[in-house]
Symmetry: C2
Subunit: 114 residues, 2 copies
DNA sequence: TTTAATACCTAAGAATTCTAGGTATATCCA
DNA sequence: TGGATATACCTAGAATTCTTAGGTATTAAA
């Protein structure tokens, strides 16, 4: 959710991040995703659970993710993995987002840094 | 609104685009903004009027834009310009968006193209 | 004369995120 | 022993933004 405190995640970017993170891994569980994003961005980006869990459930309902629950150290973890459809969709949605970001850069005229 | 037909504008990006476009110009009117975005993105990005006008009105209500109406060729145009506050905010919001996009790239791991 | 382009607007709904809770276990520290 | 923090899941309601789908009006082109 935040880069600056309280700034909002750009609409639609969360589900793409989830799909992309899972593209490079066998499986991840929700809490792990929040920690991975924090780690990758040096603490600058935080995924709220109020956004993450509904997003995961929606992707599962769409058939892009499957789950398996496992108890580790007395706590239940729900692991998510990409389905075959999910793998295809991940590629497509990343491409769509990339195209959008390219156009955004054309409008914003910010080539130097990105 | 679209890169692919019907895909959505990322939440929050529109107001930054407006502020950024006005940073480089004296003034612009609504319809001109829609055309400029289309031109800059070779027709790939279209701003819907249903999104644009409420966004302009909100920025004006926040004190970042001022307007002056003028009739040209028998049609009324409403020109928007940055206020002093708007100039400051434009810089800040572009920086915030840039920081967000940098972090998004870290998560998506897409450095090559952007 | 009808269509497309120019130029403004709004209302209702959809979608996503944030805020703010809730539950529960394990670990660390005082 | 007790409390705080970390781990791990969840949901409901509000806020925000965008899409869809209209509306009005003038000018230019077919």
């Amino acid at each position: 959710m935040s880069t600056a405190p309280n700034s909002q995640l750009l609409k639609g970017s969360l589900s793409v991040m989830i799909l992309r993170l899972l593209e490079g891994r066998e499986r991840m569980y929700g809490y792990e995703i929040t920690q991975k994003v924090k780690e990758l961005t040096a603490g600058e980006m935080t995924i709220t659970e109020g956004a993450l869990y509904p997003a995961l459930h929606k992707l599962e309902a769409e058939g892009l993710l499957t789950t398996e629950t496992q108890v580790v150290d007395g706590r239940a973890r729900k692991y998510y993995s990409l389905t075959k459809t999910g793998q295809t969709e991940a590629v497509g949605r990343v491409a769509e987002l990339t195209a959008f970001l390219d156009n955004l850069n054309l409008v914003l005229n910010l080539k130097p840094s990105l």
